[in-house]
Symmetry: C2
Subunit: 331 residues, 2 copies
């Protein structure tokens, strides 16, 4: 294993310290609970909290900032943060308008975020509503989930809900926006290589030189099937053939498209995949109103990518287009 | 070779098409000359053009936008764009205030950008001044250069000169800013793995599991020496031990620090390296006024990173802090 680290045990802590040192005017790192929060909080807007296992950078700490999250809770690599960590994040960002937790649908995360919300309500009288992102069309139930997994679409939920919260909407309204975003977002990914979890030190799985894992999860968990690699055009077609019928996305609908790298995919390949996807969507009559290309929800150093589509109405389009200032997000 | 492409021959063209399709409100791709330019040009500001071989994405097309470049000329992977391509870019972005070419110091780039500037002056009466970025402290002369190589520091030169041009400064003034930025910027990098040039299909070099190439170039060209891998803290120390004495950067000086990934390095490792560098700079009494962490000047899919330091005076600090809107740049 070749990594720029000091030791696997201190990786998450040092990475979070690095984020704070790099963005001292915008972020505060609370080491005790591994929370990254905005430096300047606004108690008159709904507080938005997300998080989960580390290893998905810039998710989620890179999405803390104006127009997006108020705090991100960082678990160990690919491990949910504890109930206490999440509880502390809720208290740290307490708002007069209440709190919304945006949770990726993994059993561990759901359990710990739910328990933290209940504690905050019982002990501190803080109302903490929850939404669960489950955009991955690859698998219905998986190693770590009941129901679908939450993957890159989560970022667009952060963006839409973040803009709604920044506008001063009520907790019920922000939650409704998040739920609408979740109901309209779908993703599908593939891996060309495995990630290597630092504490393990060896790749999670091995693919031969002409294989890809189709429908892979963001923790290196298995996808739907192992297949031969294909061209970028064929790949985009295959991914969209899984995504489009699911919602469905049909001719005439307007979308946001996110081509998300898994960590070690060069940007040149991501733009090329976006190009292939855009051509395929055009043939399907599906319009692209917003585009995002880059590393948003990674799987440490996995090579591969996912495509996310969000179906937009006027409200979602306006919220995605609102300004945001988070170190890991490009509008 | 596992890559998300259709064919090596069409990669650059399709990638550029993808950039335009992703950012249609901001970028125009002129396919004939492989130029990416701003959609809206302003003839009353100095035009800034950069470019070079492809494979360094987001450099340079990702830095086209308000507050940065007006156009980027895209060569084939790791090959200089031709004289005619650069000449067409100069004509495409003709301004009443003249043009500045920001060139990374490689023999091929210097020759072609220089010849294009001369053609533009002789044939069209366009004044196109040039500056040459040579921030890499690793090697004095190299495979592809007379003098030092231009690497990640180029991005900060784009930013400073771009902000100066946007303010409406004259060509001489913008050139002076660029030259000051170049005089004050130094970089040093290392590779943990080689890149794979698509047309070749195999890695440029091979490192064993405990080796790194110290002082590597951004085309996979050899560095100063092959060494054993070390911890992130030791790595930051070694890189800064090369960079700091060179200018020199001494106690009390203010800097911008860029930790730049080479393409397949996870963001978690880049923030960790930034953290190590920040601790080392603090011990040296060197202040960090601006920070950048991410993929800015890559080497396709190389694993590794570089550290860039720019010594700041009030003018450079103000210019780096000015707003910029380019799809590959995070302020």
């Amino acid at each position: 294993m070749k990594k720029i680290i000091n030791a696997p045990e201190t990786l998450v802590m040092e990475m979070c310290e690095g984020m704070q040192r790099a963005h001292p005017d915008k972020l505060v790192f609370i080491a005790k609970s591994k929370i990254i929060r905005r430096k300047t909080l606004n108690a008159d807007k709904v507080s938005l909290i997300s998080g989960g296992g580390s290893g998905h950078e810039p998710a989620h700490a890179g999405f803390v900032g104006e127009g997006m999250l108020d705090a991100a809770v960082c678990g160990d690599v690919f491990a949910s943060p504890s109930t206490i960590q999440v509880y502390n994040a809720i208290r740290e960002t307490k708002s007069n308008k209440g709190t919304l937790l945006i949770i990726k649908n993994y059993s561990g995360d759901c359990m710990n975020f739910d328990a933290a919300a209940e504690m905050a309500e019982e002990d501190d009288g803080i109302v903490a509503e929850r939404v669960y992102v489950n955009d991955d069309v690859a698998v219905k139930d998986s190693l770590y989930t009941v129901g679908r997994r939450g993957v890159a679409g989560t970022v667009l939920v952060h963006k839409a809900a973040g803009a709604a919260a920044e506008k001063g909407l009520s907790l019920a309204e922000v939650k409704a926006v998040a739920e609408k975003a979740i109901a309209n977002v779908r993703s599908m990914g593939f891996a060309l290589t495995s990630c290597t979890v630092p504490a393990k030190g060896t790749p999670t799985f091995v693919l031969s030189e002409d294989e890809m894992e189709f429908g892979v999860g963001i923790h290196g968990e298995p996808g739907t099937r192992r297949e031969e690699t294909v061209t970028a055009d064929e790949l985009a077609e295959k991914l969209l053939d899984c995504i489009c019928p699911d919602l469905p996305f049909t001719a005439g609908c307007e979308t946001a498209v996110l081509v998300n790298g898994f960590g070690s995919t060069p940007l040149q390949e991501l733009y090329l995949l976006f190009n292939s996807a855009a051509k395929s969507l055009e043939k399907r009559g599906i319009k692209i109103a917003k585009s995002y290309v880059g590393n948003y929800m990674t799987s440490i150093d996995m090579a591969g990518a996912s495509i996310t589509l969000m179906k937009l109405d006027e409200e979602l389009k306006e919220l995605l287009s609102a300004p945001a200032d988070a170190c890991g997000f490009k509008c």
